[in-house]
Amino acid sequence: MFSRVLIANRGLIQANCVRAVKELGCRAITVYDPGDRQNTGVRNADESHELKVGNSRIPYEDIDQIVALAEQLQVDAVHPGYGFLAQNAVFRQRLQAKGIQLIAPGHAADVQLEDKPQLRRLARSLGLPVLPGSDTLTEVAELKAAAEKIGYPLMMKASQGYGGIGIRVIEREADIEPNYRQIKGQADRYLSRAEDVYLEKYLPGARHIEFPLARDQFGNLVIFPERECTIQRRFRKVVTETPSSCISSVMRGRLKTAVEILMNRLKISGFVSVEFLYDSASDQAYFLEINDYIQPSHSVSALHTGVDILREQVSIAARQRLTITQKDVEPRGVAMGVFIAAEDPEHGFVPSPGVIERLHLPYGDGVYSQTNVCSGDSVGTFYDPIIALVMAVESSRERALAKMTTALDGMHIDGIRSNIPLMRALMRYPDFVRSQYDARLISDGESRERIYENFRTREQSEIAALIAALSIQRDANNQNLLDQARRDSRSKIWDMASDLFSRQK
């Protein structure tokens, strides 16, 4: 086992990594942006080091500083959490050069997990279905030619992209050049080879299914029940269900076999998830990618199976054997997770920074919530706007939905806007309830308005009108009082007015 592990992240995943590393008996060392000193993980670590904030404003992405610190502190390993440097190949190499291990999956020497076109080729060679697409390209002319062959609509993706970075839908040839420029611009700040992109056929009606799995260095493999994460905004997962409600047990078996073949060929050691697109019209699934980092949704699988996924992940990286078997993760009921974000779905999911005046999380039998903020905390604009994860476990999807609906009705954040109302509306939307939807369900503006409209009852509309009228009425009333007071300053009306105002506060 490691003796000293550096956790280079913030928020919930930082606290969870500190916890897992301590449970394994290692020393948990972490870093923090000065604004994050109150974070739970910082308080709980055995050592905490303040990062200097440079021009980028995001010190958690400061490779030079973190590698230097890791070396100086003589850590054995670095846990990158998710986002930030979790999939940064340069970071991994720089640490390796100092003899420090990045906690990320090991694999056969002849593949690079971050090179998605290479993985697509490999998967196809193993007999897995992949979507029509291109190899890595860097020229607009080549992209246009390849697109012609694949056919529109299609996706343009940064070859090393992850977490929604460098990914665009292309409807027609004219979109290729501006989108390539935009992807390159964005990728430049996150990826080492920003100019590399590839094309892939776009299946707008498809569902996203991923199989999380753990495989140790001795080849022991445990495949967890698949997670469905079709509900996304800006290519980021918002709702997770496990197991998926759209695939048959035959398809499930087929995909598990495909995952097993792929993992054994890649000689993966660590925790990854293998993602597929599933087209229900043709009952056909396509290999999409391998997520080679611990995902935020792993918490839903942890609740569902009772397995401490983070601890297994660190333990595998330290060349230990898996402590679980396939039998330990057999599905038991349905688990669902909803990520709550400080963003405004009414206005294209723009971040909604501000002060959380009060935060009520839902709790109860089968309802478990996790957060990294407190009432009184500010939500800034520099970091991911996810502030909580609400989870429900139940014996069936129908019951899990009922439970999640009531849970979300019971969650309140005063002070900032969030996606809670949209999520409440989604849980009641017939297409979602019947499991007949695709990735556009909440990302498309018109579809989103339909979800809201379904949620707006006649009674609620009347009450909204009442509130609007009441709001004017009270303004008018106050005005009356003040007008009268000015006319007759010897009367008692000033007292009445000030009394009224003070009672309102």
Binding site: P385, Q460, D475
Partner: protein, 171 residues
């Protein structure tokens, strides 16, 4: 006073008696239904925050236009866009809705301008992306509020902007 309020394709008639201050439970009629209303909490300016209606607690917020008239009510987090069409009173009249959409766009949050998608002087369509602003690690496309000529672009690629900074203007 009587209010007529339009919400989507519905019109609601709200009748509020001026003699109540709603600190105690008092009736309000909306269309054919009567609601018992009590104001539980307002902010320091007297704006409604918590209202009990038929014994159910509603946390609300009311967003007003520049002239002070409500244009959106958020009810337990769900936004309802609405318009006050008529007020029957001798003293108060709703002002006419604003005639033209303003063409200048201000930053609604702090962030970094990562891409300019249109040049000063170009003709733009309503809803067309003019620039991309990154905040909270996410790209936000800032759209033209109306069709017209992009008379001014106030920012450069890579520039950091604060909330309220001017971004561009369409005429």
């Amino acid at each position: 006073m009587k209010y007529q309020i339009k919400r989507a394709d519905m019109r609601h008639n709200v009748d509020i008696d001026g003699k109540y201050d709603f600190i105690d439970e008092s009736p309000v009629t909306v269309d054919k239904n009567s609601y018992q209303v009590r104001v539980l909490e307002t902010d320091v300016n007297g704006a409604l925050k918590v209202v009990m209606i038929n014994r159910k607690i509603y946390h609300v917020s009311v967003r007003a236009r520049a002239d002070g008239f409500p244009e959106e009510v958020v009810l337990k987090g769900v936004p309802y866009r609405l318009e006050v069409e008529k007020i029957e009173s001798t003293r108060y009249r709703p002002p006419p809705p604003p005639k033209s959409i303003p063409g200048d766009m201000l930053a609604s949050m702090p962030g970094q301008v990562v891409t300019l998608l249109a040049q000063e002087g170009e003709q733009v369509e309503e809803g067309q992306s003019v620039l991309v602003l990154e905040a909270m690690k996410m790209e936000n496309e800032i759209l033209a509020p109306k069709s017209g000529k992009l008379v001014r672009v106030a920012v450069k690629e890579g520039e950091l902007v604060m909330k309220g900074d001017p971004l561009f203007e369409v005429e």
